[in-house]
């Protein structure tokens, strides 16, 4: 028996004119997983439906829009993993703000590499400012300990 599966994806373009790529990616992944599960259960399922109305989408128009050029390996991702509690919330907030900054810079017409470099620099600077006070306290503590052991004991006369 021939079966046809038709899937409709909604490509949402936000008010700022950019495609919501994260949502699209999540939806596609979910759909692929569902299809894989279904095809395991029902081997006769025709996944590659010929009549899928995919031509009605103007892919060139949709995908030619600039996608926010966040660096793939933003150092804040690893740093976030090392943080807990409120500090982690601050790192999350910073990442969201950096994403907005990247988009704003792209809209101003900056090149992708410039935007990436700026985001990298801001990420590293942000980590330094978060860890700075803690590091200073540790260094001070170590210096105090060193001073304690290097000072000769008072002589008893």
């Amino acid at each position: 028996m021939e079966r046809t599966t038709r899937t409709v994806f909604t490509f949402e373009v936000r008010e700022d004119g950019f495609l919501d790529v994260n949502r699209l990616h999540a939806e596609l992944l979910r759909e692929i997983q569902d299809r894989q599960e279904n095809s395991r259960r029902e081997p006769a399922l025709d996944v590659a439906a010929e009549d899928a109305c995919i031509d009605s989408l103007n892919f060139e128009e949709v995908f030619s829009r600039s996608i926010t050029p966040m660096p793939r390996r933003v150092p804040l991702g690893l740093f976030r993993w090392l943080c807990r509690g409120e500090t982690r919330a601050i790192v999350d907030q910073t990442r969201d703000d950096l994403r907005r900054d990247a988009r704003a810079m792209m809209q101003e017409g900056r090149s992708v590499w410039t935007v990436r470099a700026v985001i990298w620099w801001r990420s590293i600077y942000c980590m330094a400012t978060i860890t700075g006070p803690g590091l200073v306290r540790i260094v001070k503590f170590l210096l105090d300990v060193r001073r304690l052991f290097s000072t000769p004991p008072p002589s008893i006369s």
């Binding site: 601050i90 999350d92 950096l98």
Partner: protein, 99 residues
């Protein structure tokens, strides 16, 4: 323990949150008014400290790009801002007299 005096950065930030603003708006305004950029790390860490001391209120929201944090000065923050303004102005007067 609440601070007795505001640092210059805290003073400026407190002045910027008289009207409710997001962290990113505060950073942009800070740069526009002082000519110096403030990193998000410094900004959010300082605002967290001030929030713990009851000087600012914070509420959370979101938009298409993720979460947003809105900050607004609290009553005790406004009192502290006025006190610090007087202190800084006295300090400036003292410097002017001696200079």
């Amino acid at each position: 323990m609440p601070t007795e005096h505001l640092s210059p950065t805290e003073f400026r930030l407190l002045g910027l949150v008289i009207t409710e603003r997001t962290g990113r708006e505060i950073a942009k305004q800070y740069k526009a008014e002082t000519g110096r950029a403030i990193s998000y790390g410094t900004l959010y860490t300082t605002l967290r400290r001030m929030r713990e001391e009851g000087l600012v209120h914070m509420r959370e929201g979101s938009d298409g790009d993720g979460r947003l944090r809105y900050f607004k000065i609290a009553a005790s923050g406004a009192r502290m801002l006025n006190r610090s303004r007087t202190e800084f102005s006295r300090l400036a007067d003292f410097g002017m007299e001696r200079g």
